[in-house]
């Protein structure tokens, strides 16, 4: 065989191989390949938010298991198995945004969010630009939803409600009613929005709000802020924080003898399993808001009731569910229902179906306003009792009465 035909043949083979490798044909319609629908999720599996990221992933994974056990998701008259493709974003917003682009390159148009406001806020504009659609189950800051995005929908209550619901619960339940409240806040966008929301509600309800103290995000040393508020003698200290700062506040307050008569309340940290595990008795009676509680009313075909969800998480992961598990499962549920309602995996059709979605679920009502926020779901308030979160507010969801004052026993 002479040289030219060999080169031509090898060139043709190469072309076929390259075309085969680079083909997106199989996955071009919204991440469908064969009988599998792939959803993309960049996740904080390492880095500073790895714990919260892991809890979020657990919720997503349980959703996949339940949806597939129920026969999968129907789109275009075809039953599809659900699959989530994970990529570790190392808790970094720029990586989380790049990974959304990578998913798009692979033809994956349906996205479940990473954990936390910075990551989600970085992902939302990329989703918008690429014509993807994202259900946000981990970024609560209101600022994400005031930028005109049309393709991001959050199942969770907004950040402004986190401390506001705690303040409302104190107003409704605490007797004697505390007078002076102070916020210790991390300086990231989410925590600042939490503080602003809580301050506005506290002012409206007639509490005296002392000047808020801010410290760098992810600090393990908040002693300066505690030292400053010690002399102001607040009745309650509310931490607008994530897990690591929340643990530091309680530990260092104990070291520094900062003992507000009403005790402590914090966002995000107390409902997580790590909070009582690292703090032991110091965690007792700390208040927190929660996106979900096992007493939430409502049910759905995938997860059943909140109690059933609680049992499923406990069985699968060996710990009681925290709200990060629940909001993740709710996000995945919303996306699945939208695909079913649209009867398509096309991103535009799924987006429209999400905008119209209005359903009850094991996580309460899921319905989005014009900004893409789920403002129809109330947050509950929990108190740590014997190392477990117990719902104390609102009254119709309460599992137990508030122990007040909440100073650790």
């Amino acid at each position: 065989m002479d040289r030219i035909p060999i080169m031509a043949l090898s060139g043709a083979v190469t072309l076929v191989l390259v075309a085969g490798c680079g083909s997106r044909g199989a996955e071009s319609s919204g991440g469908v390949s064969g009988d599998t629908l792939t959803i993309g999720a960049s996740m904080s599996l390492t880095g500073s938010l790895a714990r919260e990221g892991q809890l979020t992933k657990e919720g997503y994974d349980l959703c996949v298991e339940k949806v597939n056990a129920a026969g999968g998701v129907t789109a275009g008259g075809k039953k599809l198995k659900l699959k989530i493709a994970y990529q570790d974003d190392t808790s970094k917003p720029d990586t989380a945004a790049q990974l959304v682009d990578q998913f798009n390159d692979k033809g994956t148009k349906l996205i479940l969010s990473s954990y936390g406001t910075p990551n989600t806020a970085a992902q939302a504009p990329v989703v918008e630009r690429n014509g993807q659609v994202m259900v946000d189950a981990g970024g609560a800051d209101d600022s994400i939803f005031h930028k005109g995005y049309k393709r991001t929908f959050a199942v969770l209550s907004p950040a402004s409600q986190y401390a506001a619901s705690i303040v409302q619960a104190l107003n409704d339940l605490a007797k004697p009613r505390p007078k002076k409240i102070v916020f210790l806040s991390a300086d990231d966008g989410f925590s600042k929005t939490v503080t602003n929301g809580g301050t506005a509600t506290a002012n409206k309800l007639g509490f005296t709000v002392l000047p808020s103290q801010y410290f760098p995000e992810a600090s393990t040393d908040v002693s300066s802020s505690l030292n400053k508020v010690k002399g102001q003698k607040p009745d309650v200290i509310i931490g607008s924080v994530h897990l690591v700062e929340g643990v530091a506040i309680i530990k260092q307050a104990h070291e520094l003898g900062v003992k507000p008569p009403g005790g402590f309340a914090e966002t995000v940290a107390p409902p997580t399993p790590d909070f009582p595990k690292t703090l032991g008795k110091l965690a007792e009676n700390v208040l927190s808001s929660s996106q979900w509680s096992p007493t939430v009313k409502g049910s759905d075909k995938i997860f059943g009731t909140a109690k059933q969800f609680q049992a499923d998480i406990t069985k699968k992961y060996g710990h009681t569910p925290d709200y990060h598990n629940a909001e993740a499962a709710a996000g995945c549920l919303a996306l699945t229902l939208a695909v079913q309602n649209a009867n398509s995996t096309d991103a535009n059709k799924v987006r429209d179906a999400l905008a119209k979605l209005d359903t009850m679920s094991a996580f309460g009502r899921i319905k989005f306003n014009a900004l893409g926020q789920n403002v129809y779901k109330t947050m509950s308030v929990i108190q740590v009792r014997h190392g477990k979160p117990v719902t104390v507010w609102p009254k119709d969801e309460a599992e137990a009465k508030l122990i007040w004052p909440g100073t650790a026993s």
Partner: protein
Amino acid sequence: MTAFVQATVYGLLQGGLLALVAVGFSMVWGVMNVINIAQGAFVLLGAYIAWEVNATFGLDPFAAMFVSAAVLFVVGYLVQRLVINLVVNAPIYITLLLTFGLQLLLVQGMNIVFTADYRSIPTTYASGSVSIGAVEVPIGRLLSFGLAVVITLLLVLFVTRTRTGLSIMATGMDRGAARLMGIRARHVYALTFGLAIGLGGMAGAMIGTVGTFNPADAGYYTLLSFVIAILGGLGNMYGALLGGLLLGLVEAWGGQFLSGTWVNAIAFAVLVLVLIFRPSGLVGKAFYSFRLEV
């Protein structure tokens, strides 16, 4: 006034803990001219070992830290002999890259083995405090501060009074001349690295006792070590202690008198000032100062 005294006391105690984290890093940089980016990861490995020993055998973390130190001494010795020694003569960027890679491996390994859960070593006393007037002195931090001082003094005695210690310092000053005097540089380097990592392990046990830890904290402790080594200066065993105390105080006072969000900016501003006015650090020897010029 009470708030100022409280901030000062807390800052000093915190500084002692930071010094303990950094002393090994400073020693390795001074003696071997290796910037050990993996220092933070080794510190956390020490915390996990102490946590495991405490959880399995119920050993108090102040005893478990010796187990951490022993295990990490062996690990450090072997890492130096088998890995870092391969490139010890290469430009500093190569060792920088190598230890950076080691850090990635260690952090990911800890994520897999121990998960990303936040942990703390429980004791009945460490989070308590002693009241002196209106000032609270946290017991756990006081103990770790005492440990940092004792370790610094022992290190000074070690490098000035023992043959091994003198050989470490001699190798740090002039490896070629030390070799001509019959010192086995390879062994001395491995000993130095083992000692440094072992001390990092002790610091990890202390961090786990007074605070919380998870693998993601590795970068933070490496950065702290770097800042403290530069603040204190190289070539003097007191350097890390003084650098740590200065950083602790600056952070405490900065947080007290200005907004808490300025803490890091103030700490780095002090670092810049020290570099301008004392390029070799607070007590560093000028001979080593070229090593600050990475």
